[in-house]
Assembly symmetry: C4
Homo-oligomer: 242 residues x 4
Amino acid sequence: MENIVVRYLERPTLNDPIFIEGLPGIGNVGKLAAEHLRDELKGVKFAEIFSKFFPPQVLVQEDGLVKLVDNELYYVRREGKRDFVILVGDYQGLTPEGQYELSDRVLKEISALGVKLAYTLGGYGMGRMVTKPRVLGAATDLDLVKEMEQHGVVFSRGEPGAGIVGASGLVLGLLMGETSGYFVDPKSAQAVLTVLTKALGIELSFTELESKAKQIDQITSKLREAEAQPEAPSKEDLGYIG
Amino acid sequence: MENIVVRYLERPTLNDPIFIEGLPGIGNVGKLAAEHLRDELKGVKFAEIFSKFFPPQVLVQEDGLVKLVDNELYYVRREGKRDFVILVGDYQGLTPEGQYELSDRVLKEISALGVKLAYTLGGYGMGRMVTKPRVLGAATDLDLVKEMEQHGVVFSRGEPGAGIVGASGLVLGLLMGETSGYFVDPKSAQAVLTVLTKALGIELSFTELESKAKQIDQITSKLREAEAQPEAPSKEDLGYIG
Amino acid sequence: MENIVVRYLERPTLNDPIFIEGLPGIGNVGKLAAEHLRDELKGVKFAEIFSKFFPPQVLVQEDGLVKLVDNELYYVRREGKRDFVILVGDYQGLTPEGQYELSDRVLKEISALGVKLAYTLGGYGMGRMVTKPRVLGAATDLDLVKEMEQHGVVFSRGEPGAGIVGASGLVLGLLMGETSGYFVDPKSAQAVLTVLTKALGIELSFTELESKAKQIDQITSKLREAEAQPEAPSKEDLGYIG
Amino acid sequence: MENIVVRYLERPTLNDPIFIEGLPGIGNVGKLAAEHLRDELKGVKFAEIFSKFFPPQVLVQEDGLVKLVDNELYYVRREGKRDFVILVGDYQGLTPEGQYELSDRVLKEISALGVKLAYTLGGYGMGRMVTKPRVLGAATDLDLVKEMEQHGVVFSRGEPGAGIVGASGLVLGLLMGETSGYFVDPKSAQAVLTVLTKALGIELSFTELESKAKQIDQITSKLREAEAQPEAPSKEDLGYIG
């Protein structure tokens, strides 16, 4: 059995495509952002990536059918403009070797599609609540650094201090939304997409992400209330803890 | 050394066989069910699967002889009806790679035997005691979903929420008995087999499973009694706990 | 780089040799026994086994020279009798794959040397102090079971309950000395060797093992005294624990 | 994708070069020492080593550009004397296999450069604060042991007791500075370099390392003060810990 199997449903011919990747990770920021982009732009699935570097797991869908976990490639055709290729997925590779192999394979596949510019989206865990997430950037090209700075991306020395871990780091331009790292964070995903839409010259509705963000806000504010009024255990209770 | 070694004791020619798999897992539901089926139908062992994805372990049998851990294939011939192939084993693969490789290899072996329909049996951990286990299902084919619903299988959106992990998920039709996940659960195995016997159109004695279930019930009810009357540590005791 | 490298210092021609293996493990029983046997019988090293399944580690010897960790093969020539091949080593393979690969490779090497009978020595962890260790056995041949029973080996149904883990289990006849599993256990190694010398028809001095056993006994009896008179923490101490 | 990729920026012809390696490890002693040597001697980078045995990680540099983690080879040309090859890097291999493979590959590359003598630098964790670190040594050649002893290296029986783990151990001559193991330890790196400069017959400024050592000293002395005056929790506090 091969380590990675790429199954093409269709072999699209694309116009100087831009690659956008968002996989599960801190705050699921990249995944939320890329899936939102795919949904809003009505991306068409054209390839599925299976691998023994993913968990040996099937997901049960609403109709009772099972689906083996995968990563998926979608294209978005844009009349007279550069097309998009979007990568989303259920998992990143489980091991360092898997991360390298999967990133290497994705790079080979998108190179064959003519991709020269890639954005990988992710979260940057702050370890504290973030009300107004900034978007941090990094790139493999100084021109791209300058261009992204014009769209409000922060290139901050020493951030992220410990380096970027995972698939996000192995491709070309990186956009990371600040996030607490405690919750799935649609607000940070929106911040990332706001920058990306400027860079790509497109417009996007954020209604879906905003309603998801509201749900998360409700949960977190309840949790904060609960934390503010902790039930102090009485001395008697202690007797039964053991 | 090869990753997986399949040793055939016999190369049976089978009549449009149905594959049934039950390996160790949550509550050992799948293993209990598949082994019970094999024992009741007097399955004949025809292949042993060894692999370095299993633990490097031998089991000591009652006669003092050792047996390297393995998975085993049995056939059941049924006069004028579809035959069965049953997979049981001491272990599932230890790593994700092992799970993928072993599932892939089993699929190749049973395809060569002419298998087109497969049931994989397992448990679905509820994290609480289950008195009347339902049987949840999933499949790779909508017709199979409908057929299994007629036999009482529940296809419930969002259950299992986090997907099905392990070898069970990589083959074709899945039957999962609800189980606490705390104990070996023959009652859940019986629930799974009750559905399966309807699907296969066979009859089965459950005496063995029922007596195992009684033993487990005795143990768990004792544990529950013990929990209901905890020895409250005295204030003095607390002083020495630290 | 190959997974396993076997470096022969000499290619001995041996007389119907018997293989004896003792690697580190529970109570280091197997390693202690096999090394004692090698020392007493003045075994001659003829091969070194290096592997990336061992830790990436060198050991510093007394003269300041480093030695890459390995397993080593020794032979013992016995005038007019069956020769011995003894395997000892610094480590077992670190992973299940490593265990399988190393056992497979050792089997190939000793088969090439003409080995037909093998004893693997190990400890059987009891989880409690053992004053008079029994020697438990298992084998791949019923005749060997019977022969070993005559030498006092116990073939006890259900022991070892959970199977034998590690390299010991992958070869042919097993001898396991009961041991607490808490300490290096020369007494258990001696019990194993006492059986083995009967099986091999040889005599052996145990002076070295006995003096090691005395040292361990002194340590454990001190520990037991210390346990018998625990310093009960006073109420005041508790205030500073936090 | 290959396990290890060595990218040569230049293929230098060197004069009977001596190899010096210092990778991250206990107290980062080896890395600090080798990087200091490279900086002071103005080493020229001539090769980058990438590997899937390193973490799948990019580092963000000050200009916002990303760099995939690697190991790097530098050369130092010395008019009419033996040249140096210095290996530094962001990581050691993550797994035992990775350690073996990377060490094996580095050995092959430096052999091709004509290296016959190698020093690998590291720390030796003492588990307690060390005010005046000794430098312990080990080697694969008795002459080298004697030579290093003349430079003040300690070859002490039983130290390091448990053997040397990691890449340091797989090459030729080893120098290990004693270090607590709790902090990055520039003082220990200086002790190692002091020995090495004698062995190499070179002079070196230690200003940089000394200023780093001062910073660490300030941090550790603050921590020691804080430890000396612990805030004793009051009895009342205890009531809420539960």
